[in-house]
C-alpha cells in the first residue's frame, strides 16, 4: 500500500466507509510512515472543525409558516383537515378523481340509455347509488372523502351533467397533471458547474 492509497483509506475511515482488512493495512502503513500519520491527523482536524462549524443550524422564527404559506399559495398541499375541497386539488389526486368522474359519466349515460329500453337487469342497476360504484372503483374515495378532498369526485359523479367550473378545469388539465414539470433544472454533470476560467487550470 502506497501513501496515496493509505490516505484515501484514512479519509474513508473518518466516514466509517472501510473494511476491516483496509483498516489493518492502513494501521500497518501508518505505523511506519510519519508523513501519513501527520496527514491523517490533519484530515481529522479538518473533519472535526467542519462538523463543529455547522452542526446546529439556526432557523429564523417564521421559517416554517412562510414555507407553508408558499406551499398553500401554490396549492401544493392537501387542504387542512376539516376544510372543504378548494380548487386546485393536488395534482396527483386528480388522475383517479377524473377516472372516477369518467366512469360515472359512462354509468349515467348507460343508465339513461337503459331507461329508454328498460330490462330487469338495468332497472336493478338504477337502484345502485353512483357513489357506491365509485367507492369500489377508486380506493381514494372510500371512507375518507372529507380528509382527502374526494368529495369533489362524488360531486362530479352525482352531477356529471353539471360539472362545476373547478371540476371541469380539473378534468381539462389532466394531461398537465400527468406530466408535472421536472423537479430540477440544474445540470447533472458536475463539471458543468465548474467555473470555466478555472477549469483549465491544474
Amino acid at each position: 500500500m502506497n501513501c496515496n492509497e493509505s490516505l484515501q483509506i484514512a479519509s474513508a475511515r473518518i466516514d466509517g466507509q472501510v473494511t476491516l482488512g483496509e483498516v489493518r493495512a492502513l494501521d500497518a502503513h501508518l505505523a511506519s510512515c510519519e508523513a501519513c500519520r501527520g496527514a491523517d491527523r490533519a484530515m481529522r482536524t479538518v473533519n472535526a472543525g467542519f462538523i463543529a462549524a455547522g452542526a446546529g443550524p439556526s432557523v429564523r422564527s417564521g421559517f416554517k409558516s412562510a414555507l407553508f404559506d408558499r406551499l398553500d399559495a401554490e396549492a401544493l398541499l392537501p387542504p387542512r383537515k376539516g376544510r372543504l375541497l378548494s380548487f386546485p386539488v393536488w395534482r396527483w389526486a386528480a388522475v383517479p378523481l377524473a377516472a372516477a368522474a369518467g366512469l360515472a359519466l359512462f354509468m349515467l349515460v348507460g343508465r339513461e340509455a337503459g331507461e329508454m329500453r328498460p330490462t330487469g337487469q338495468q332497472v336493478a342497476r338504477q337502484d345502485v347509488p353512483v357513489e357506491t360504484i365509485i367507492s369500489v372503483t377508486s380506493p381514494l374515495t372510500h371512507g375518507a372523502a372529507g380528509e382527502n378532498g374526494v368529495r369533489g369526485a362524488a360531486a362530479v359523479a352525482r352531477g356529471a351533467s353539471v360539472l362545476s367550473p373547478e371540476e371541469a378545469e380539473i378534468v381539462a388539465n389532466l394531461d398537465l397533471l400527468e406530466h408535472p414539470a421536472a423537479p430540477e433544472d440544474a445540470p447533472a454533470d458536475l463539471d458543468e458547474m465548474l467555473t470555466p476560467s478555472a477549469k483549465g487550470q491544474g
Partner: protein, 189 residues
Amino acid sequence: MTDEELMAAFRGGDRDAFEALFDRHHLKVIRFAARMTGDPGRGEEAAQEIFLRIARAAATWEPTARFTTWMYTIARRTTLNLIRDGREAGTAVPIPPGEEDGDGFPLHLSGPPALEPDRIVSNNQLRERLEVALGELAEGYRSAFVLAAGEGLSYLEVAEILEITPQAVKSRVFRAREMLASLLSEVAP
C-alpha cells in the same frame, strides 16, 4: 412511520405526512444548503426552494427510491442553481483532469503540529477559515464532502446523488479533506 411511508401518505392526500417529513428533515436541508452556499441566510432561502420542489415533484418520486436520496438530489441541484446564479467567476477550484482516478498529485498534508483537532474546534478564527476554504472547493468536491462528512451519508448514497461511482466519491472526499487541510495549515498559528 418511515420517510417512504410518509411520502406515500402525502401523495395519498395526507397533509400531516408532508409536515412530518418537513419536521424530520428541514434542519438537515438547511444545514446542507448553508454548508454548500457558505451562508446560513442563503441556506434558509435554498431550503424553502428545496421543500417547494419536493412538494411539486412528489408525483415523480418512485416509491422504491429512498426518500433521503431523492431529497438530497433535489437539495443539491437547487442549491447549485442558487450558487451558479450568484457566483463570482473564478472563485472555484477545479477538479484536475484525471483526478477522479484517485492517483493524482503528490500530497502536501502534513500541516503544522499546532493544528490539533481540539484546537480547531475551539478556535473561531480557524472555523471561519474552514468555512471560507470550503467555499473555495469545486462543487464536485464540496458536494461529496458535505454529503459524506457533513450529512453522514454512505459513499454509495452519495454516489447515487452525484451520479458518480462510489470510488469517485471516496476520491473526492479525500481530496476535499486534503485541500481543506492544506488551506487551513496556511493560517494555523
